[in-house]
């Protein structure tokens, strides 16, 4: 039985509303961190909660709801990226928006994410980015990170170490040479 089904909704909310009130920002932030596009993060967030809504009765409470939702988010982002249309849209976006030296896409991200540490983090390769975001932003333990990433805790720790090392290199270098990291 799902803990959400048993749980008495706050303020008369339905389970989906409660999920979204509690974890909506987490899901959106993780989706944005992985795709760097606001509109796509909206679509992915919608997809995540609809999936969660459909599968509420299958959630067994073996992981936290937050970990469960972040895991769905990661899988959904990967599904999106695999879709031919989204690949094409991404290509279209790159063609429409990409500059030659410094991509307009990166400039666009910089324009909407003004914190320079975040700007660097979003330039990390996806595998390093996701582990760092889960650790530093979502405050997950390495065991929880391993659950979200469907990997071992050791592998999660190793990736986290590489992500932190790369960030320190960039920060100490004082420049945003992260363009090559994509």
């Amino acid at each position: 039985m799902s803990p959400f089904v048993n749980h008495k909704p706050h303020h008369g909310q339905d389970p989906l509303s409660e999920l979204m009130h509690t974890y909506g920002q987490d899901v959106w932030n993780f989706a944005f961190s992985l795709c760097s596009k606001r509109e796509l993060a909206d679509d992915i967030t919608q997809d995540v909660f609809l999936k969660a809504f459909r599968h509420l009765d299958t959630f067994r409470g073996q992981s936290s709801a937050k970990t469960w939702l972040l895991s769905i988010t990661r899988n959904t982002v990967r599904d999106y990226m695999r879709q031919a249309f989204v690949r094409r849209v991404t290509l279209v976006e790159q063609l429409f928006f990409a500059g030659e030296a410094r991509s307009a896409e990166s400039e666009a991200v910089d324009a909407i994410v003004t914190d320079d540490v975040w700007q660097l983090a979003l330039r990390l390769p996806a595998k390093l980015r996701e582990v760092l975001i889960l650790y530093a932003h979502h405050q997950l333990s390495t065991a929880e990170i391993a659950q979200v990433l469907h990997t071992t805790e050791g592998a999660a720790k190793a990736r986290l170490h590489r992500a932190r090392t790369k960030m320190k290199e960039w920060l100490e270098g004082g420049g945003k040479d992260g363009e090559t990291a994509r």
Binding site: S33, D42, Q46, L50, F53, Q83, D115, L171
Partner: protein, 458 residues
Amino acid sequence: MAKQQDEWESRLSDLHVQGGGFSEVLMQRILRASRKQPSRNRSLRWKSLSAAVAMVMIVGAVGGGLLRQHHQGAAPGTLTVSGPLVLGNGGTLHMVDASTGWALAQGGTQVLHTNNGGAYWTVGTPRQLMSLALKVQDEVFINGREAWLAAQPTDGSNPGTEWMLFRTTNAGKDWTSSILPFVHDASAQVKLNVSGQTAYLADLNVRQGVNASNVKLYQSTDGGVQWHVLSSAPVNPNQFSKVTRDVPNAIDFWSAENGLMATPVNPVVNAAGSQTTPVVFSTSDGGRTWKPIRSFPLAVWSAKDRSIYQGTGAGMYQYNGARSIYAENGQSFAVGTQYYRDGLGWVDVLWTTHDGGDSWQASRGVWPSAHIIGDAYDFEDMTHVDLIAGQRLYRTQDGGRQWTSIPLKVQLQQVQFMNSKVGYGWSLQDIVYKTVDGGRTWQALQTQIQLRNEDNPS
């Protein structure tokens, strides 16, 4: 788990995305979509999601503030992408007025249309342009609804693919097309001009060297379906070789029968001021025949006082050609020109005539501090002209007797003003910029593009 975080890591604990985030609007959208789910096994592919959500939220940051608005009526199976608009090499922007306009993006392979000043664009690319991997080489945007495109096969595309002409009269929703079998090969340069139902296409076979017979001019009087050859062009192909999009007004018709053509490159003017090769031609029979305007001024400049002298040998300057031509009617037209001399640099001069070319008046010279290839004139009429030269925007309201100038922080290569305040331009990096203060400041145009359902191959 106790975490030891560096200072920079703690900054990652909070994420602020301008114009983005999990909002009440998004939550309501998800709740509405959840009510429409018929079964738990239903595929939640993107298309079905979009179909379930009839309202597309447009979120954009404006001036650091937040603008949220709903776009009603977004079609199912569409997706909106956002960012600064980059035209790509070979792209162009043509605003009809402050609201309506066209953009040729992705280097000439995508057609965009806007009705709100460029903040939001819809894709109006002809399907055959995409399916046959064609690229627009020249285009004429008549107004907010009608556009003509001359498209060439791209390298490596389907063998046998020919040049095509596309025409829309409903802002890119539907296109008619015709094959242009007469264009001599895929690498040709063409120049398209349209006046009413009559279209002209110059086929510039620049590979064949200096031979007037290698330049053909064709005419269509039925909207671009049937074409017939008019005549060989009156000037050599080398001169025509730069009649490309960087000289947007090198051919200008003010009626179906009457037009002007200017060539951008001319040999050095000799010491006596003689000019062996005409640079401006006129036609009064719809392009069947062209005659040179011999009275076009001989370009001799004085280095001493930077003034124009005709017929003297003092301080000659190389005439670098017409950059743009503007024909108001059979009597009044203007030619934007450019000159160069080693050690003294570039100077732009606007020549105007009000008696059909019998006599010409020269503007004061514009001396940009640095030269860029894209020195470009933007004519509002004979007296109101903008010029991008160097990294400044020059403006005259009296036909060039006086110029004012504004320094540009962005190196624009082309500008187009809608009124005294609002203008558009694009940079050397092909990024579109907009000004709302008469050109004093320019901001990269933040756009959203609605991609169409047919862009989805699934």
